[in-house]
């Protein structure tokens, strides 16, 4: 077996272990005292599995590094996978401190969604373009991912806090927004489900379209609902597109990405509706009773602590190391590229979070909502800025 297949096996192993660990964390629901030092048996198994899973993912990372010759953080697949790993690491660190099994039940699924989402992007090892050939690649990118992973924990915990604290007996603005957040998670799951299904069937439809003066082709791996702007279907015996992607969608392969988005929303919605039909109440309301043994204050504290720990790490990786590298590679440390601007937006947002919390007394729900928005900004920078706004950082 060569290194690369060891690497991908290790990643699979990690994923499966996280999945099993989640169930064991789930089994700790019956442990009544959440801050009891003596942990139940299942809690011990769960954290052990998580650590083994993390080590397996470390094996993936190292073997991939050796076989490609560069740190595996150079494209969307590699970066997102690493972000999932950073999230798990953040969880393990906080677990060591707070011994909260419950956190695992929420943190691991989020990490798994991110890793599964990552594997939807091309997974081949690709060579580095000259601008990426630098040690700063792994110094900058790993620090950013670590910072974002730790900040991600504040999202996980903030979400737990809201699920626990938002009054589900009456319909309110808060229940609606919370349900929207749950729905967005379903859309990510929808994306993974639909992409995996059609990949499994090896679906392919090719379009030809004009790009500037030359003709280009694009391969759809999902049936085309939205064709590329000005594109014609070349492949026969596949579904005809329903409409064209509007011209104002910018960037490379805008049509295909838009089509994938439509499919993700449809699939996510279907899964969500089926879930609601079975549950016959809001998803948030279903999860709420599971959290009744949690102390709200402790959740609030962990959420704040992960921002307090993650913020300096993010600043270091996302702004300082980023600037140093930009100065070396491009001759300017700051150039208002969309990715840079959104890193600044993230930084300003968490700076506002900290000021509101420390000086204006925004605790509890207010601060939890902010943690959710903060992670939303991080994901926006990761997904929308890379795929839609396109700039110097569009490597995927």
């Amino acid at each position: 077996m060569d290194l690369l297949s060891i690497s991908s096996t290790a990643l699979y192993t990690a994923f499966i272990l996280y999945l099993i660990a989640t169930f064991f964390f789930g089994a700790t629901i019956k442990d009544k005292q959440t801050d009891n030092k003596k942990k139940g048996f299942s809690g011990k198994i769960a954290i052990t599995l998580t650590i083994i899973g993390f080590l397996a993912q470390l094996v993936y990372f190292i073997t991939r590094w050796i076989s490609s010759g560069h740190a595996p953080v150079s494209n969307m697949f590699e970066f997102l996978t690493f972000l999932g790993m950073a999230l798990v690491l953040g969880f393990i660190i906080l677990y060591a401190y707070y011994k909260l099994s419950f956190l695992g039940l929420f943190a691991l699924p989020i990490a798994m969604i991110i890793i599964a989402y990552a594997s939807m992007f091309p997974t081949e090892i690709s060579p580095l373009v000259p601008s990426l050939q630098s040690h700063w690649l792994y110094i900058h990118v790993t620090t950013v991912a670590l910072g974002q992973g730790i900040l991600g924990i504040s999202f996980v915990v903030g979400l737990m806090y809201l699920i626990k604290e938002v009054d589900q007996t009456v319909r309110s603005k808060e229940t609606t927004w919370l349900e929207i957040v749950m729905y967005i998670l379903f859309v990510f799951i929808g994306f993974i489900v639909i992409t995996t299904s059609f990949n499994f069937m090896n679906y392919n439809a090719t379009f030809e379209y004009g790009q500037g003066s030359s003709a280009a082709t694009t391969d759809y791996h999902l049936p085309a609902i939205a064709a590329p702007n000005g594109g014609t279907l070349v492949t026969e015996d596949v579904m005809k597109p329903w409409f064209e992607t509007p011209a104002w969608f910018q960037g490379e392969d805008a049509g295909r990405k838009f089509n994938t988005l439509i499919w993700s929303v449809i699939t996510g919605t279907v899964i969500y509706l089926i879930t609601r039909l079975i549950l016959r109440k809001r998803v948030g309301a279903t999860i709420q009773p599971l959290l009744k043994n949690m102390k709200a204050d402790l959740l609030d504290e962990i959420e704040y602590r992960s921002v307090a720990i993650g913020f300096p790490v993010f600043t270091l990786g996302g702004l300082i190391f980023a600037s140093i590298w930009a100065e070396i590679a491009w001759g300017r440390f700051w150039g208002w590229d969309p990715k840079e601007v959104w890193a600044l937006v993230t930084w300003l947002f968490f700076a506002a979070y900290l000021h509101l919390r420390l000086s204006r007394g925004w605790h509890g729900k207010k601060s939890a909502w902010l943690a959710l928005v903060g992670f939303g900004i991080i994901m926006f920078n990761l997904i929308v800025v890379n795929l839609v706004l396109a700039g110097l950082h569009s490597y995927a």
Partner: protein, 549 residues
């Protein structure tokens, strides 16, 4: 200056909320920190007198209070955040793609994004980050940083330096963590003290009152990081002056030497060779990716020699003396004498010269009747071939294309796709024959030309684009960033923990505690130090009672 005297005898400055010495709430000032009617005291700045909350009459006072408000600070941050987001909706002017048909912003935004693009352009959002209002916003954040920090740092520093362990009961009982133990022995108190010392608390005692404190320096974190940010903003101002920052761009053809702009002709650079390499398609590791993505560049490199010009008399043709000879690659800029040269662009395969021959139109073998070479960098107007033929260069299009009206034009001034209009004079005709020649085109002006021109040979070169700059503000940015990181780590990774213990004469004991963050950790500390004693664990009064969310 008016002062307030507390019951304990301590004289406090006007505007004090909690007595600097005993911590007793000063009745008339409780509204300042919103303590009225609340069980718990707001300990944010230890109840010290802040200028912004004390003096609010004069204009200066009002400006001071305005900028020292965290609310205003957060609003400024949020506005800067929203403005920054808006700037990424459409590309900024400098990021208009190079391959766009018309890069003029007046045309680009409307043609690409319709009405929204037009509005974006007309509002000046295409240069948002250098607009006066964006810069003003950043400047206001700077002002807020300075005033906020001064307003709070000075009184807080005073208060924390001279802490009196002897606190008033109303101060202790209104802390978030509090407990009363009916009776505690001196031995138990000693155990606690020993445990506290073991956990690296500093202990101060006075009249049966005890203060255990640790991590006070973390309270200075915010002020340290604000200093770092202020240095960064100052560095940004410095960078906008030519003394600190210069940025130029120079294109150099292979084999040529160009003067480096911005040095008053002091430095020259020679491009000895431009190297463009791609990843090996047969590389086992990257095979899959390369077959999908196609060619991927692996190296952009310019081998350069930098010269310093020596002129004995100003204006004289300089003598060039080599300073440094090196290769510049992406991520490996060349530094010399405080300047940097950075690999920033390239153009492959420009034409240096083209050689044409004349032959008879009817000759199938195209036998040459004479030839001439056009130097595309500096084309001669006329070529005398010596054997009766004379060729005049009427038009030269370095980068030929047909414009919207179908008229030949040149897209750039770079000889990437040269085309020519020649007039050929020969002995057997008085009138010249007109020919249009380009790559892959050879058009006869009249359709009756006797002689035809053909491309016989050509030479090509690459051009390298180099950024040439100095940035003397970088050390300031570096210092600012380091100070910011120190401050933020100091403030975030450590906590200021204080525990007050008072053993009353009747043997009862009260304990109160405060921290600026991580209450969980403080509770754990107290749990450990009171282990094996009868001293009651503190109760979290916030958890039980009010919650200000």
């Amino acid at each position: 200056m008016k002062q307030i005297k507390c019951d304990c005898g301590h004289v406090n400055p006007l505007g004090t909320v909690l007595c600097e010495s005993c911590g007793k709430p000063i009745e008339e000032n409780q509204h300042i920190d919103g303590n009225e009617g609340k069980k718990l005291l707001n300990m944010r700045y230890d109840g010290t007198a802040r200028r912004s909350k004390t003096y609010t009459k004069s204009v200066v006072d009002r400006i001071w209070s305005f900028f020292s408000s965290v609310k205003v600070g957060v609003w400024l941050i949020v506005l800067a955040l929203i403005a920054s987001m808006i700037g990424t909706i459409f590309p900024q002017e400098m990021y208009i793609p190079a391959n766009t048909p018309n890069r003029d912003p007046a045309v680009f935004y409307e043609s690409q994004y319709g009405v929204l693009g037009l509005i974006y352009y007309q509002l000046g959002l295409h240069n948002l980050y250098s607009s006066w209002w964006y810069l003003l916003l950043i400047a206001l954040i700077g002002v807020s940083l300075v005033i906020c920090s001064l307003d709070r740092f000075v009184p807080l520093f005073r208060a924390l330096r001279h802490q009196n362990p002897k606190k008033h009961q109303s101060f202790l009982s209104r802390q978030r963590l509090y407990s009363e133990t009916e009776s505690a022995t001196d031995e138990e108190l000693e155990t606690v003290k020993k445990q506290l010392k073991k956990r690296r608390y500093n202990i101060k005692e006075k009249d049966g009152y005890l203060l255990a404190e640790k991590g006070r320096f973390s309270r200075w974190g915010p002020y340290v990081n604000h200093i770092g940010l202020i240095i960064i903003l100052i560095a940004a101002i410095l960078r906008s002056t030519p003394l600190f920052f210069m940025n130029e761009y120079v294109w150099v053809r292979e084999g040529e030497t160009e003067v480096l702009p911005g040095t008053n002709g002091e430095y020259y650079v020679e491009n000895k060779d431009f190297i463009f390499e791609t990843h090996d398609e047969n590389d086992e590791r990257f095979k899959d990716a390369l077959s999908k993505e196609g060619m991927v560049a692996s190296n952009y490199q310019t081998d350069v020699v930098v010269y310093k010009a020596n002129r004995s008399i100003p204006g004289e043709e300089p003598e060039l003396e080599p300073v440094v000879e090196d290769s510049i690659q992406m991520n490996k800029p060349l530094s010399f004498d405080g300047y940097d040269l950075i690999q920033s662009g390239y153009q492959l395969n420009e034409f240096s010269s083209m050689t044409f021959k004349i032959h008879e139109t009817s000759d199938a073998d195209e036998k040459s009747l004479g030839s001439f070479t056009v130097d595309l960098r500096n084309p001669q107007p006329e070529f005398d071939l010596g054997n009766g033929f004379k060729v005049v260069l009427d038009q030269f299009y370095p980068d030929y294309y047909l414009d919207d009206n179908g008229i030949p034009a040149s897209e750039t001034n770079f000889p990437r796709n040269p085309a020519f209009v020649f007039s050929v004079y020969s002995e057997d005709s008085e009138k010249p024959e007109v020919s249009f020649v380009g790559i892959g085109r050879n058009i006869d002006g009249t359709g009756e030309n006797k002689y035809k021109l053909g491309i016989e040979d050509f030479e090509m070169h690459d051009v390298s684009g180099l950024t040439f700059k100095y940035d003397r503000s970088l050390p300031f940015f570096g210092i600012g960033a380091v100070i910011f990181m120190i401050g933020v780590i100091q403030g975030m990774y450590w906590q200021h923990r204080r525990i007050w213990i008072h053993k009353r004469k009747d043997g009862s004991l009260v304990m109160a505690a405060h921290t600026n963050k991580n209450w969980f950790g403080l509770k754990k500390d107290i749990e450990t130090v009171t282990e094996n004693t009868n001293i009651k664990m503190v109760e979290d009064q916030q958890e039980l009672g009010e919650k200000d969310n």
